[in-house]
């Protein structure tokens, strides 16, 4: 199947979600299930979420509604996370999702297309909590 690398979608914002306030239960449950331990609270203050808690924070739409024809099959090709401010109970997080990149590469098994979806997560003060680049591979 011929793929289409229409780069006009790069930079397009396809979702902006303001999440419900983060709860202490969510933070503790995430750590218990994932095994990523709770970091110490500075000065014994508010609970701090495990750094990877950010991967559980999602917008309403995972993919842009209109994708170029990148291939018949796609799968998760990993994510890069840039960590920012810590997350505490009560934080109201906003997730803004954009198409960050689309590109092709060739490897032993042939030609692949990659779609990189970037989620920028901020808290109620506008501080950046995380930037997550989610790669999807298509062929």
């Amino acid at each position: 199947m011929a793929i289409s690398l229409d780069r006009s979608i790069v930079g397009v914002e396809f979702d902006r979600t303001v999440c419900e306030p983060v709860t202490e239960t969510e933070i503790r449950t995430y750590s218990a299930i994932s095994g990523d331990p709770l970091p110490p609270s500075p000065g014994g203050g508010a609970l701090v979420a495990a750094p990877t808690f950010v991967v559980s924070v999602r917008g309403k739409k995972f993919m842009p509604p209109k994708l170029p024809n990148l291939g018949a099959a796609g799968f998760d090709a990993g994510k890069d996370i840039e960590f920012g401010e810590p997350i505490h109970p009560g934080d109201v997080l906003t997730v803004v999702s954009t198409v960050h990149d689309v590109y092709e590469k060739t490897g032993r098994s042939g030609t692949m297309a990659f779609l990189v979806l970037r989620a920028v997560i901020t808290n109620q003060r506008g501080d950046q909590v995380a930037v997550i680049d989610q790669k999807m591979m298509f062929r």
Binding site: E104, T106, R108, T111
Partner: protein, 217 residues
């Protein structure tokens, strides 16, 4: 002089290795890996703005740059990249014509050499089974640190049949793999122009440090 001619830093989308971490590793492993410098060959890209001179001074290692591009004959390393080359060829295009690229790069002052030629799909060996040889190739990467069993071995047939010279590179995407395979030159190299001239002239060979690393571990 020994240079690792094929390396990827975090500028490539599939590598997580900072350039400085490579240099720290080479300094730490100097008794086992006698590498004098590296050539960064990032995937499908070239940036004129990058400058590693302060790192070179700090660590006493040569850092040169090239690019790894993708063609209808597999992947090709381009050394001596300049504005003329990048204006003519879109490095993000994974379907570049190798028959056009190799002689044109030479004409514009660089050199284009196929890498990991024994690798399926993206190596020269497989393409030569169905297509004519690329005009103007003078050397191939006979030793690639990322190749699987049997892939480097297939290259000897290409070298014998076409009279290519041989060089080596680690194809490192991780810090601990830098310098595991490299190229030993009879002459000194200080600049990209020196490297291009030496690769055309000959007087170099691939060197493999993997056994030495295993023994030292």
């Amino acid at each position: 002089m020994i240079l690792d001619l094929h390396t990827h830093s975090e500028a490539s989308e599939d590598s997580r290795a900072p350039v400085e971490a490579y240099l720290k590793w080479l300094v730490r492993k100097r008794s086992i890996l006698p590498i004098d410098g590296i050539v960064l060959t990032e995937h499908r890209q070239w940036s004129q703005r990058v400058d590693y001179r302060s790192l070179e001074d700090q660590y006493g290692l040569l850092i040169l740059r090239g690019a790894e591009v993708e063609t209808d004959y597999g992947h090709i390393l381009v050394y001596g990249v300049n504005d003329r080359i990048t204006e003519r060829f879109d490095f993000t295009n994974v379907r570049l014509s190798a028959q056009e690229l190799v002689p044109a790069v030479t004409e514009m002052g660089g050199i284009a050499l196929p890498c990991h030629p024994g690798r399926p799909t993206i190596g020269l060996y497989e393409h030569y089974a169905t297509k004519p040889p690329i005009e103007g190739v003078v050397a191939v990467e006979a030793l690639n640190g990322g190749s699987r069993r049997g892939e480097n071995e297939r290259v000897h047939e290409l070298i014998e049949r076409h009279g290519y010279r041989a060089f080596g590179g680690s194809d490192s995407h991780l810090v601990s793999l830098i310098g595991v395979c490299a190229t030993e030159f009879d002459c000194g190299i200080r600049t990209t122009d020196d490297l291009v001239a030496a690769l055309f002239r000959g007087g170099y060979r691939p060197v493999d440090f993997r056994d030495r690393l295993r023994t030292a571990a």
